[in-house]
Amino acid sequence: MNAPVPTPARGAASIAERLGSTGAESALELRGVGKRFGALEALADIDMRVKPGERRAVLGSNGAGKTTLFNCVTGDFPPSSGSIRFFGEDITTFPPQERIRRGLRRTYQISLLFAGLNVIDNIYLACCGVSRGRFSFIRPRRDDALMASAESLMRVVHMEDVKATPVAELSYGQQRQLEIAMALAGAPRFILFDEPAAGLSPTERRDLVDILTGLPGHMGFIIIEHDMDVALRVAESVTMMHNGRIFKEGKPAEIESDPEVQALYLGGGDG
């Protein structure tokens, strides 16, 4: 260790890291992540490891910090402290688009769709964002590869019937489905679903569970969900959050029967 270690060029290091990242042990690794908004501590000391392909539910009452956690992971706003690694690569300071281009995806709790555009255009835009074609000045042709992938995503979420409908005219449930289709664009490696079932009818919930359980096995995700029926059917592990901290982690059955969790959820004084 006495000999000076040659430091490889910065680019070379990151390429090596990224090559190594395919065999990373965790898809997402959070260490000591915290987020403050002025005096409000929205997140504190979040340590979390999610394996590639793992499906995890994040539960917690309103204000527990679940969406803030997602925002830190996707870079909508950076964490105040701690580090975030995505397939081994430190993405803590990356702008959102760089995280997305590495295979991270998310949906939003409140639909953030492009109301003036129709269904297929929204999905097409999502496909463009993660491809090199995002600066293209050429309109898509009949055999456009991105358009073809947009159409296949549209079929995944069963929206063929409303292909040309402007988003503003879609039902709430359809907008949620569209959010999911957009999160599946490109080659996602890990997806964050922010309350995808909120406001859906029972039938739509069943469709949602089918879509989520039907995702390819290598595609891990974290789902924020209040509906235990949905959350526990699609997730193999559960993280319970409370007041910006991780409160419990475990298998769905353990969490469901945990007395503290039950007290919090059923008799909770500050829910």
Partner: protein, 357 residues
């Protein structure tokens, strides 16, 4: 005349999938307008061709570059006339003018591309500064840059020849045509105006244009789809600068001169007024606005002096027109047209638009 077409081009919503050949996708009214514009020189005199139509096309192009930024990108840039002025100045400096002490006299195929490169670079740097701001701050920073250029050009005699600027700047005699001839100049400006119009219309549905509109509506979501919002906005400034730069060169040729006043604060704001009067939602808007502005500017003086008022009060007319538009139709003349069409198609019993699906 443009919105029905707009619906057809955007129509059905499916990108590039309209049935039939391309000639069937262009509505009849477009053919009519196109043929009329091509035939105008048969009826109109030199003054009308140069001072009304030529000028409208040029101001329309410069406003079109603002429409691209403001309408699709949500960025109100007051620097577009300055970009045009930069291109005009560069053509005078690199090419030929009556100020032989400064003009380099390089051939057109060097001077014009170089002028456009400088204009695009100027527009991109302005964009790079401006895209970090939103709303009123974008307006302020671009206005500051525009004013700075105006005062710099007026005080710098080494490069910009100060207050008097350059005169004697003529288009090159390409293809054996004297482009200063009103008919030739009419077709020259019509060609570039039409080209930039169709270019903007075309890219509005390309990934670049769609993403620009997405960024206007929701920059945060676009970043979450993998788009680099800042880079995309700067690219839009560069594209707009190219259009404004071509307009600026034509503007310089039209009057054969360029001076600081060409890109003064007044003209800079006129470009915004033109775009707002015409409408920012479709590329045809700036051309409608420019035509109205030019007609008012040209004939209001005569009308006002005829009424015994001062001729300089034509600005008052434009100002009143601007107020009326902003109050009654924030989408400009295009918005009025859309409203009228919606009302005409309205079924009084069902009280809904006739075009509703």
């Amino acid at each position: 005349m443009a919105l029905a077409e707009d619906r057809v081009l955007k129509g059905g919503g499916e990108l590039g999938r309209a049935p039939g050949g391309w000639e069937q996708r262009i509505p009849a009214s477009w053919w009519v307008v196109g043929i009329i514009l091509l035939l105008v020189p048969a009826f109109a005199g030199g003054f009308t061709l140069n001072q009304i139509f030529g000028w409208s096309f040029i101001l329309g192009m410069i406003s079109l570059s603002l429409m691209l930024l403001a309408g699709y990108g949500g960025m109100v840039s007051l620097v577009q006339m300055t970009v045009a002025g930069v291109a005009g100045y560069m053509v005078a400096i690199f090419g030929d003018s009556a100020i032989t002490g400064i003009s380099q006299g390089w051939p057109w195929y060097v001077a014009i591309p170089l002028a456009l490169i400088v204009a695009v670079a100027f527009g991109s740097v302005t964009g790079w500064l401006a895209v970090r701001t939103e709303g009123i701050y974008t307006i302020m920073i671009t206005l500051a840059i525009a004013s700075a250029f105006f005062y710099f050009a007026r005080q710098n005699y080494v490069i910009f020849n100060g207050f008097s600027g350059f005169n004697g700047i003529f288009p090159p005699a390409l293809f054996g045509v004297d482009w200063r001839d009103p008919v030739a100049f009419y077709y020259l400006t019509l060609f570039w105006a039409a080209l930039s119009f169709f270019f903007v219309l075309y890219i509005s549905r390309s990934p670049f244009g769609l993403a620009l509109q997405g960024i206007r509506d929701n920059p945060r979501r676009m970043a979450a789809l993998g788009f680099g919002v800042t880079a995309h906005r700067i690219a839009a400034y560069a594209v707009a600068a190219l259009i404004a730069g071509i307009g600026g060169i034509l503007l310089t040729w039209q009057s054969a001169q360029i001076s600081p006043g060409t890109a003064g604060v007044g003209p800079v704001i006129d470009i915004l007024i033109i775009a707002v009067i015409g409408g920012l939602r479709h590329p045809i808007g700036p051309f409608i606005g420019a035509f109205i502005y030019v007609v008012l500017k040209t004939f209001a003086i005569d009308a006002l002096t005829g009424l015994g008022l001062g001729g300089e009060r034509f600005q008052l007319l434009i100002g009143i027109g601007f107020l009326v538009i902003v109050f009654w139709s924030p989408d400009g003349i295009l918005g009025l047209w859309e409203k009228w069409k919606a009302n005409r198609g309205r079924d009084p019993l069902l009280d809904r638009g006739g075009e509703a699906p």
